[in-house]
Each structure stands twice: as structure tokens, then as C-alpha cells.
């Protein structure tokens, strides 16, 4: 079990004052802070090893290639993929899902086919499917969410998995509700129906063990910057047989085996999907983030982050009459989203900021869900390895002052 007090010292950005108060950073579902080890990995790469990868015959290029491919192997191990070739580096979750939707979806979806999603999807796991639906004539269908408790209504799942459903894409942890979906069960039921599965792991990857072979999904997408890594790098996991059967989605250098004036042949995955100079420096830093999180232990991180979220749920509920708390009361991911009566989320966030507390407010890229729940937005506190119980109390006190300001 890590000593969580020491963990805080690893993150330089936390040690500052905001608006005259020590920073309380509770916007981790948007992006986490970075430990010194990750920042060092990035700057050391640029200081010592920087050169373009692949095809390079000089020392630095070989070092950079080793670093980049080493990061791929590290990420594969991090999610227990069968081989490094099952990891395609992307800009992040959004690009990963767009890749699957455009390449796999473009090649396999036909008019009359159905794409199954859930009502709790982030826009990044919704809009790419709308785009490919428009292109292919496929239809969209949604697994409903059960009100404020925020659970998927899985009693309907087998009925919704009709023979026209070709792909089922769903989030592991809802960025608005905090719900942890039973992804292995969802994949098993989809698999029985012959449906390809896509898991959005943006909110789970840095907070709990994620094992693609235990989940038994076909694709899994995530971002580095939500797991103590840097921005601009993420990955798509795909079963190798599926990836190798998919057409390229962007053309350029690095993804071809042979080019002629009128036709080209593609490399196998993952290079097929990495046209152009890849983001090797950030990939190296992502490898360092995997090392850092495994050093703490992801089961311990889950206990810590989910524990804080449950505590926040209880303390906010007890201290703020009329507060509307979203998501399940018990088991949840490391975030709590809430609406205070008569105070808009943006006003809540502005007031918290004056106390040095970073929250996020708004629709959290979940507009259809917000509409369904009859909300215009919520404020959200999301926790990570460096957050403390004391910070929850600071949040509660700040919110009480906000309510007093607006309602007297």
C-alpha cells in the first residue's frame, strides 16, 4: 500500500497557491497532473534521444525507435494485451474511437445495420458513430440509463442485441455519473450475439486495473493525459485479427509497404494506422506513466480514488440540503457530479475557484444524458492519487459558502 502523503510530493504542479489558497485539484476526470518521473522522461527524451523513428540508421534514430517501440510493449503489458502489435498509438481516446468507427465501421456497416451505444456515452463515443452511421446508412440505438442512480438498464440488453446489431460501444466508467459498467459481462453478452465490442476506457485506465483479455473486448480506447501521462498521446487496443483486416484510415509515410503512382500496399497493424511521424516522445512519457501507476499499484489506486468519491458523495449529501447527486451511491469511479438547488454549475465552479478548488461544471460532453435527466449541467469533483480526505472537507465548506451567498 503506497503512502499517499508521499505520492503528493511527486506532482510539482500541486504545490502552488491559487487565488491565495493552496491548490485543491479536483478536475482529474478532465486531465490529471503529471508526476516528476513522467515530466523527466519527456525532457530526457528530448535532451538525449530525439530523432525520427523507423527507417533511421543512425544512433539517435535507433534509440528513439527503441524508446517508441518499448513504450508500445509497455502499454501492451499495462492492459495485458497479447502482443505489442495490438497497440495503435493515437492522439487519445477520441482519435482511437474515430479510428474504429471510420475504419472498421466504414468497412463493415451497411444500411439496415445497427450500432448499439448507451445513453451515458461521452460525445467522443457518440459523434464518431453518428458520422459513420450517416456515411453507411446504419442506425443508432441506445441502452437506457436508469435515472439519477446512473446504472445501465441491462435487463433490456439481450432484447436490444438484435441480429442487425454489428457493434456495441460503451464506456467503462461514466465521466458524468461515475458509474462503473460491468464491461466483461457486456462483452460476453455481445460476443454471444456475434457483436464487435468497443470499450471507452478514458475514465478507468488510470484509476483501476484494466485487462483487455479479462474484459475480452475487441477494441479498447484510452488517453494518456488522464492517467498521469502527457497530452497528445493515447492508444487503441484492437484484437490483431480485426486490426489486420481493417483498411487504413489515414494515408502517408510509415504505413505503407509499397507505393506506386496509382496504388499502394499497406503494412500490417499497428503501423497501418500510424501514418506520418508518430508522437514518439509523448509515447515514451506514456510508458513512464505506466511505470509510475504500476509502482503505486492499480488496485490500491482504485481503492483510494473510489473511496474518496464515496466519501465525497456522503459528505456532500449530508452537508448540503437539496443537493442532487448523480450516479450510484455505493461502488463508483473516482468522481462525483452534483447539482446545487438554484445555483448554476458555472457559478459553483467560479466560487470554488476563488477558494483555490478546481472543479468542472457544465454538460461534461454528455448533452443527451443531461437532457434526459432534466439538467442543464452539473459541477463535478474528480479525484486522483494525490487527493486527500481534507480536500473533501474544503470542498464541502466552499460549497456551503456558495449556497449561502446565493440563498442567504
Amino acid at each position: 500500500m503506497p503512502d499517499w502523503k508521499n505520492v503528493r510530493a511527486d506532482f510539482p504542479a500541486l504545490h502552488q497557491q491559487v487565488n491565495g489558497h493552496p491548490l485543491v485539484y479536483l478536475d482529474n476526470a478532465a486531465t490529471t497532473q503529471k508526476p516528476q518521473a513522467v515530466i523527466d522522461a519527456l525532457s530526457h527524451f528530448y535532451e538525449r534521444d530525439n530523432a525520427n523513428v523507423h527507417r533511421g540508421l543512425h544512433a539517435l534514430s535507433m534509440r528513439a525507435t527503441d524508446g517508441y517501440e518499448g513504450a508500445r510493449a509497455r502499454v501492451a503489458k499495462f492492459i495485458n494485451a497479447a502482443a505489442p502489435e495490438e497497440i495503435v498509438f493515437t492522439r487519445g481516446t477520441t482519435e482511437s474511437i474515430n479510428l474504429v468507427a471510420a475504419s472498421w465501421g466504414g468497412a463493415h456497416l451497411r444500411p439496415g445495420d445497427t450500432i448499439l451505444l448507451t445513453e451515458m456515452e461521452h460525445h467522443s463515443n457518440l459523434v464518431p458513430w453518428q458520422l459513420v452511421a450517416q456515411r453507411t446508412g446504419a442506425k443508432l440505438r441506445y441502452v437506457p440509463v436508469n435515472g439519477d442512480e446512473g446504472l445501465l438498464d441491462l435487463s433490456q440488453l439481450d432484447r436490444l442485441l438484435t441480429p442487425d446489431v454489428k457493434v456495441f460501444a460503451f464506456t467503462h466508467i461514466s465521466n458524468t455519473l461515475g458509474t462503473i459498467n460491468p464491461v466483461a459481462d457486456l462483452c460476453a453478452r455481445a460476443k454471444k450475439a456475434g457483436v464487435v465490442t468497443v470499450v471507452d476506457a478514458a475514465q478507468s485506465i488510470g484509476h483501476m486495473p484494466v485487462d483487455v483479455r479479462a474484459i475480452d473486448c475487441d477494441f479498447l480506447a484510452f488517453s494518456g493525459h488522464k492517467m498521469a501521462g502527457v497530452t497528445g498521446i493515447g492508444a487503441l487496443y484492437g484484437r490483431r485479427a480485426l486490426l489486420d483486416a481493417m483498411p487504413p484510415w489515414q494515408g502517408g509515410g510509415g504505413m505503407i509497404s509499397n507505393v506506386e503512382f496509382f496504388a499502394s500496399r499497406w503494412k500490417p497493424s499497428p503501423e497501418r494506422f500510424e501514418a506520418g511521424t508518430p508522437n514518439f516522445a509523448d509515447a515514451v512519457a506514456l510508458g513512464a506513466a505506466c511505470d509510475y501507476l504500476d509502482g503505486l499499484g492499480r488496485a490500491a489506486i482504485q481503492d483510494h480514488d473510489s473511496g474518496l468519491a464515496r466519501l465525497a458523495y456522503e459528505r456532500l449529501g449530508a452537508a448540503l440540503p437539496g443537493i442532487r447527486l448523480l450516479g450510484p451511491r455505493g461502488e463508483r469511479g473516482g468522481l462525483v457530479s452534483f447539482a446545487l438547488p438554484g445555483v448554476h454549475a458555472h457559478d459553483v465552479v467560479t466560487f470554488a475557484d476563488q477558494d483555490g478548488i478546481a472543479l468542472r461544471g457544465g454538460h461534461h460532453c454528455n448533452q443527451p444524458l443531461m437532457k434526459k435527466l432534466g439538467l442543464t449541467g452539473t459541477a463535478r469533483a474528480s479525484f486522483y492519487v494525490y487527493n486527500t480526505e481534507d480536500e473533501i472537507d474544503l470542498l464541502v465548506a466552499s460549497l456551503q459558502r456558495t449556497v449561502k451567498f446565493f440563498h442567504g
Binding site: 448554476h344 467560479t350 476563488q354 457544465g362 443531461m370
Partner: protein, 151 residues
């Protein structure tokens, strides 16, 4: 030193937020425009009854933060009875107040929004309803949005 929240959330703003004026659909409206701020999801519809060159009556509806709701409410009280040219001039003054913090020479409730300039992220909240009103006035068929208009 950080800007003080009581500068942003002036009594006039809190009052308009708690008791919005001219809120709801105007049954006699002959112009309508919808404004939205895609960054935060705020929405505002403005209904006008224009007679000749004059805004005979107006109302607003929508959802958003205290700043955007109070601003739209105050706007309805400021633009009623005004000509299109006068409305443009009042908006120009308001825009100047929220972007520079300079208070107008004449006494005006618009001055309550001077504190907004210290919170640049909130300027779009304060101008949302105004964009919709000016768009309705021009009978612009396109919805107003904070994304394709200058603050």
C-alpha cells in the same frame, strides 16, 4: 490579488438572477432568435415584438449561469421601447463595460456588469442574450452563437 467575487456577482445581478424580468415566451412576438454557447451549454431564446423600427416588447427564456440569466433579464428592461439603432448603441456600451470594466458616465444598471471583465471566461455568458436579441432584431434566420460572433 485575485478579483473579488462580490465584484462579479453584484446585487443587481443576483436580483435579476433570482427574479428574472420578462422571462418566458412572448405571445405577441413577431421575431425570435435563439442563442447558445456550445462551450458551456447555456441557451437563451429572445422574443421581440417589433413595431416599425421600435422594440415594442420583448422577453427571454433559457438556462444558464447567474451571469447569463441576469444579463438577459436586465437586457429586456433596457431595450424595451428602443429603436434598432438605439439598441445597437446600448449593446455597444454594455460590451464596453464587460470587456474593459469602465463604468458609463450616466448612472445605469448596466454598470453592475463591470466586474465581468476580470473574469474573461464569463464575458460570453454576459453577452449571450444580447447576441440573440440583436440577431432577432435583424430577423437573422441563423441561430446566434457565441462561437461565430466577436464578444
Amino acid at each position: 490579488m485575485s478579483p473579488d467575487l462580490s465584484d462579479l456577482y453584484q446585487q443587481v445581478i443576483l436580483d435579476h438572477n433570482r427574479r428574472p424580468r420578462n422571462r418566458g415566451r412572448l405571445p405577441t412576438a413577431n421575431r425570435v432568435a435563439h442563442g447558445d454557447n456550445p462551450t458551456c451549454g447555456d441557451q437563451c431564446s429572445v422574443y421581440l415584438r417589433v413595431e416599425g423600427d421600435r422594440i415594442a416588447d420583448l422577453s427571454f427564456d433559457g438556462s444558464g449561469c447567474a451571469i447569463s440569466q441576469a444579463s438577459a433579464s436586465l437586457m429586456t428592461t433596457q431595450l424595451k421601447g428602443k429603436t434598432a439603432a438605439e439598441a445597437q448603441e446600448i449593446y455597444r456600451q454594455f460590451h464596453d463595460i464587460v470587456t474593459t470594466g469602465h463604468e458609463p458616465e450616466e448612472i445605469s444598471d448596466l454598470a453592475a456588469f463591470a466586474g465581468v471583465h476580470a473574469f474573461p471566461a464569463r464575458i460570453k455568458c454576459a453577452t449571450l442574450g444580447w447576441h440573440a436579441a440583436l440577431s432577432a432584431l435583424k430577423n437573422d434566420p441563423l441561430p446566434a452563437t457565441t462561437e461565430n460572433t466577436l464578444d
